[in-house]
Amino acid sequence: MWYYAEPLARLIEALHKLPGIGPKTAQRLAFFLMSCPREEALGLATAIVQAREKIHPCTLCANLTDADPCQICRDPRRDRTVICVVEQPRDLVAIERTGVYRGLYHVLHGALSPLDGVGPQDLKIDQLLSRLRDGTVKEIILATNPNAEGEATALYLARLCRPLGLRVTRPAHGLPVGGDLEYADEMTLGRALSGRQEMV
């Protein structure tokens, strides 16, 4: 990229690495950051640095948080007998938005996918199992995505949790086939959660 000054070229390259940002968009964003007020551009840089410095996974539920344990894990009004397992922090947000769920969460940060080299040891599964040991938790809701990887992960977890004497459930179908929780609308997601079924 000889036609860009070197720092600009590096910025474009960094933006291009972001999901959903093609080379043209990266170039447009970079030029925008060069032409907008200085404080705005530096504000963005500071926001990125601070978020990266302060945000880390909760040691209990693995959700992204700036406090440990996270707000949800500390909230005394939450029902501590239920844990809802999701793939990504954004899925947790989607479920929180429905307002129907008052239990705790556990974020796996992925789903089983041997094709991508993702096995059980790459997900927060040991951390989940250690939360189940003291007997407080009575039900575990496996709200992984309704695609092949999400289903397989749910089944894998069900096999691990059932011997512990827990009720293991999965949100009712009616979610868009192959879709992600993230994209399900709040009504559908709320209904799927309240109509959850025991896994067999």
Partner: protein, 363 residues
């Protein structure tokens, strides 16, 4: 539902042409390499998204041009609808109903089409993969659910194969469950379609051979013994083969390995039949497919037959003529007008020369 008009621009040797069709039998006459097959191919590309098998999809766009355009006007319940396909060189084909981009399957379910190509004998004599493509392509067009189940099955299969290659035995089970669920549905759909096709193929081939020969179609599977509860059968088969498959590093049983068998007079058609018999078998298969489409979509498909009369003897040509007469709309080509049987009532006749319609007449 009737195809009334086809417009072609920069498609194969056609620069620009408009061709009118009528209900009943439309006969396209022309010497070889003058564009009569390309006319059928244009309809196949427009409605099925694929041209003549093995005929080089890269040359669909006229030499030296960047883009080809195909448009069909179809009439249903007094309303005219325009179906379009845009072919850009080196890119895919875009399909549209009026101005709206649509998925291919939607066009097919709106205006179904079945084509017979002379090379279709390859379905019967070629590799098993060719027959699975035939079956999956047909069922995926008829039902979106089949396509979704098939994709889901293939995904789980790829994941299980990755487990087999890395020797992660403890992870096999969850993918097997996924494969059993969706592979079971795929197999159930195939069995149901085969049940229908088998009867039809037997009936049509019997008639084509004057009752002297029989052609039996069978679903060949190394994991299922019949159509009862394929999910349970597949689950069991996958579990049984684990040890062997861990050695091979891939899944050896399941719908992705199944095949169609054709028994001609009790013997495997692949080793026994002449080329003529194979071609007749393919013709029977395509006509049976048209009957299945009609039954599933409650609408008779447009049928295209490329050079179907060649290699048939006189009695068979006459039988085929009677069969085609019962269809809603047929377009068929012939290089030699003398091969067209006298009992065929043609509603429209076209002559093609050098990518142009040089003569048109009713009847």
């Amino acid at each position: 539902m009737v195809l009334e008009r086809l417009f072609l621009k920069n498609f194969r040797l056609y620069r620009q042409a408009t061709v009118a069709f009528t209900p009943g039998v439309n006969l396209v006459l022309g010497e070889n390499a003058q564009g009569k097959t390309s006319l059928l191919e244009a309809l196949a590309v427009l409605l099925l998204g694929e041209g003549v098998p093995g005929a080089g999809a890269r040359e669909l766009v006229h030499w030296g041009e960047e883009e080809a355009r195909l448009e069909a006007e179809v009439r249903a319940a007094g309303r005219r609808t325009r179906l379009r396909a845009l072919l850009k060189r080196g890119q895919g084909i875009g399909h549209y109903v009026e101005e709206a981009p649509v998925r291919l399957g939607e066009i097919f379910r709106f205006f179904p089409l079945v084509v017979f190509w002379p090379a279709d004998g390859e379905i019967l004599r070629g590799e098993p993969q060719r027959r699975r493509q035939f079956l999956d392509g047909m069922l995926a067009r008829l039902s979106r659910r089949y396509l979704a189940d098939l994709r889901r099955y293939r995904r789980a299969l790829a994941q299980r194969n990755a487990c087999l290659r890395s020797g992660r035995r403890e992870l096999l089970e969850v993918w097997e469950e996924e494969m059993a669920t969706y592979g079971g549905r795929v197999a159930a759909e195939r069995y149901a379609a085969l049940h229908f096709l088998t009867h039809k193929v037997e009936e049509i081939y019997g008639a084509l051979s004057d009752g002297r020969e029989t052609l039996i179609l069978r679903y060949l599977s190394n994991w299922s013994e019949g159509k009862e509860d394929p999910t349970a059968q597949l689950r069991l088969a996958l579990r049984r083969h684990r040890t062997r498959e861990l050695r091979f590093g891939q899944t050896l049983v399941g719908p992705h390995r199944d095949d169609l068998g054709f028994l001609l007079n009790g013997h495997d058609l692949r080793s026994q039949a002449s080329r003529g018999q194979q071609k007749n078998g393919a013709l029977a298969l395509r006509l049976a497919q048209a009957a299945l489409v009609a039954a599933r979509l409650d609408q008779k498909p447009l049928i295209l037959l490329d050079d179907a009369f060649a290699e048939l003897d006189c009695r068979r040509r006459e039988w085929l003529a009677r069969y085609l007469q019962e269809q809603d709309q047929v377009v068929l080509t012939a290089a030699d007008g003398r091969l067209v049987p006298g009992n065929l009532t043609v509603s429209r006749r076209l002559s093609i020369q050098g990518g142009k319609v040089v003569e048109e007449s009713a009847g």
